[in-house]
């Protein structure tokens, strides 16, 4: 018993320090590593069998012509060539998806930050409001919510009549190709709970003395927000931005339900992930669908990398000297 406790304590200390350890016996550490690996095995097995293996198989499939029933036939880069040069629907769905990402992601983050700032102040019933604002995120991705959304944004619905009362006549957003994507954006904004909770936690981490110092220097609320809150929050803003952007690229459920699986009207909500679903599960063109998936992964990877590269200019980590 005593021997295990000492080794357990020794390992983290050695790792934390990162310094070459001199004291602990290598033999005993190996025994403990082994124990760790044994405990990790179920998880690693799960990751290998359920994540890594299917991923590698899909990478292989993307170079084949595979219809689920016959054996995959190797066709090299033909799928990728078609995606890049010969498929008009790819062009259209990429346009719709990019528009969605560019509009929905910042609006959702602004909403999340705005509400987090309101909920950060001390007032009665704060916990109730926090729960209430988080609620939509729990049910948001569900099919039920998307169906309610359909009803909200169809012709003669609540939204239509409300806007009509102000002289804005858009008709139903669902059946109007110019507005249908905006109803999806609205649905996404409504689900701001997850980033909001992260913002709230980060707001509580900002030291009060920074605000006090700013106030003494004569900074008003707006100035304090811009010069203290935003820079101190920037790592979390960056984190939320990356996360929400990746989500937005993968958006499928709400578009599928809101358009009844058509991506309509006139293809205006036909996002990339819906197209690859159709090809894979309606057309059984698994090879081509797999190639589309890998292109998506690549694009999301590149955009994330660009965000990381530029983050040095605007993300401020506390304690970092510039």
């Amino acid at each position: 018993m005593a021997s295990t406790t000492t080794t357990d304590a020794a390992i983290p200390r050695a790792r934390r320090g990162g310094a070459p350890s001199t004291a602990p016996a290598p033999k005993r550490r190996r025994t403990n590593d082994r124990a760790a690996y044994v405990f990790l095995t179920p998880w690693m097995l799960g990751a290998a069998v359920l994540t890594l293996a299917p991923m590698l198989f899909s990478l292989y499939m993307s170079f084949t012509d595979y219809n689920l029933f016959d054996a995959p036939r190797w066709i090299g880069l033909a799928n990728y060539k078609r995606i890049l040069f010969d498929d008009p629907e790819v062009r259209d769905t990429v346009g719709v998806t990019l528009l969605y990402v560019v509009v929905a992601t910042p609006l959702k983050l602004i909403a999340a930050l705005g509400v987090a700032l309101l909920l950060h102040t001390r007032r009665k019933g704060r916990n109730f409001y926090r729960a209430a604002f988080y609620m939509p995120s729990l049910i948001g991705a569900s099919v039920g919510a998307a169906i309610v959304w359909r009803l909200l944004f169809s012709t003669g619905s609540v939204v239509d009549r409300f806007l009509g009362a102000f002289g804005v006549h858009t008709g139903g957003w669902i059946s109007n190709p110019d507005w249908s994507l905006m109803s999806l954006v609205a649905l996404s904004i409504w689900q701001f709970g997850a980033p909001m909770v992260i913002f709230l936690a980060a707001l509580q981490q900002i030291p009060r003395d920074l605000y006090e110092a700013a106030e003494i220097d004569g900074a008003g609320p707006w100035r304090r927000f811009l010069s203290v809150t935003v820079p101190m929050l920037s790592p979390v803003i960056f984190f939320n931005l990356v996360l929400e952007m990746v989500h937005a690229f993968q958006m499928f459920n709400s578009a599928f339900v809101l358009s009844n699986g058509t991506g309509g009207p006139a293809g205006s909500t036909h996002v990339y992930s819906m197209y690859l679903y159709e090809l894979g599960f309606n057309d059984f063109r698994m090879g081509y669908a797999a190639a589309l998936t890998w292109v998506l992964l690549l694009v999301v990877g590149i955009v994330t990398a660009v965000l990381f590269k530029t983050s040095g200019r605007w993300v401020h980590y506390a304690g970092e000297e510039k």
Binding site: N260, G264, P265, A266, F281, N282
Partner: protein, 434 residues
């Protein structure tokens, strides 16, 4: 704590773990093997049977199964069903996983996709004199339905024809001439426009047939063309599609045909059932269900045509197939034969899935049901004008319909020109058709 030496512990765990792993892998390997014929107590065999439809149809089919099990006490049939749209992903996933149902319904549009890739069993060895299935009774128009080359991958369970379903009351109220006699498309559209104007655009005369393969196929056939060739390609060209799109888009612009928003706002119903249009092209066997949903009686009218061809044909409404992997092919064949030839089945099903496929079932359905009588009358009326059943849609044909709808929507919303729409449709057909 002191019972086991510390150095032994990981080893023990590892042994346990490997044992666990081996069992798991063993189980997984067994699951991957070929399905074996398992026969229950008393020598009974259970067939798994998967079809699409609603609970109403499921009730009828369960009655048929009760009748079948009474006559074949050694065979049990276990059913499951799904809505049409979710039926295909479910079936294809099960088939790809090597676990398809023994017996299933297949739409004509999918027979090539599944039949050419080894999912469906070739029942030729079980069909013929003295065999389980009697296919000699099939009505003439259905003789070749379910054949791919000389392989019999399905047996038709029904046939139905396209009709012009319309609300006679709405047409009379608008003073429009009903499509009870053959009419040219232009003449019909003049009548349709009267309905639209009479209702002040609350109800359009007709739903746009250009949004669906049914309208395109019917019109192409009226021009003497085919939707699909024997080889699995499109049977018409850019110019034909351009002419058709130009025509229907013109009628939409003047108000004779409903705009695409009408369809979208009626979802998940149909414009005919939400009262937004007073006529549309539809399979005749749907008349009972649609009338009920609309809340007023619909009639079956003749599809307009500008040529001597009606364009309509007896479409195999639904086919029954067995899985190539099923170990119970003989039992499956017996069940399929019962469904297509037994008079009790025809009596129970009525025209729920269409007209009966065989001469042995003809005339068995009670004509007391008004919807059944309506369909029978219509089928008699058009029988002389039916053209031969065309080859089944290409591999990927079902998906092309989805893209046709999307392209048509873009056109009817005025977002692209006719030329662009035609271009997109043919470009997409290259991606989708195998």
């Amino acid at each position: 704590m002191g019972s086991a030496a510390p150095s032994r512990r990981p080893l023990t765990r590892r042994t346990t773990l490997s044992a666990l792993l081996a069992t798991g892998l063993g189980a997984a390997l067994t699951a991957c093997g070929e399905p074996s014929r398992s026969v229950g107590a008393g020598g009974t065999v259970t067939l798994r049977y998967f079809f699409w439809g609603d609970s109403g149809r499921a009730d009828l089919i369960n009655q048929c199964i009760t009748a079948f099990e009474r006559e074949h006490p050694k065979i049990k049939v276990k059913t499951s069903f799904a809505a049409f749209d979710s039926f295909w992903p479910k079936l294809s996933t099960a088939a790809a996983g090597g676990n398809p149902p023994d017996v299933m319904h297949i739409d004509y549009a999918w027979i090539r996709t599944l039949g050419e890739h080894g999912v469906l069993a070739d029942l030729a060895a079980h069909t013929g004199p003295g065999k389980e299935i009697d296919a000699a009774t099939l009505v003439p128009s259905l003789r070749t339905a379910g054949l791919i080359g000389d392989r019999r991958v399905g047996l038709p369970l029904s046939h139905n024809s396209v009709s012009l379903m319309y609300d006679a009351k709405a047409w009379a109220a608008a003073g429009a001439r009903p499509p009870t006699a053959p009419m040219g498309w232009d003449t019909f559209m003049e009548q349709s426009l009267k309905v639209t104007r009479h209702s002040k655009r609350k109800q359009f005369g007709m739903d746009n047939p250009g949004q669906n393969y049914m309208g395109v196929e019917t019109w192409m056939r009226q021009q003497g063309l085919q939707m699909w060739t024997e080889k699995g390609g499109l049977g018409f060209g850019h110019d034909d599609m351009r002419r058709y799109f130009t025509q229907v888009d013109g009628w939409r612009a003047e108000g004779a045909l409903a705009g695409p928003d009408v369809v979208l706002e009626s979802l998940p119903g149909y414009p005919i059932t939400t009262g937004r249009v007073a006529s549309y092209l539809e399979w005749d066997n749907q008349v009972g269900g649609r009338s009920e949903m609309r809340g007023s009686k619909l009639s079956l009218g003749l599809v307009p045509t500008d040529t001597s061809r009606s364009g309509i044909y007896a479409k195999p409404g639904m086919l029954m197939s067995a899985a190539a992997k099923s170990p119970y092919l003989s039992e499956a064949a017996q069940f399929i034969n019962f469904m297509i030839n037994d008079r009790q089945v025809a009596k129970i099903l009525g025209t729920n899935i269409g007209m009966p496929p065989t001469t042995s079932q003809e005339g068995a359905a009670a004509v007391t049901d008004p919807a059944v009588r309506q369909v029978q009358t219509y089928e008699k009326q058009v029988a002389a004008r039916l053209s031969p059943t065309p080859p089944p849609p290409a591999d990927g044909g079902a998906s092309l319909n989805v893209y046709l709808q999307r392209v048509a929507e873009k056109l009817f919303y005025g977002r692209i020109s006719v030329d662009h729409a035609v271009e997109l449709f043919f470009d997409q057909s290259k991606v989708v058709l195998a």
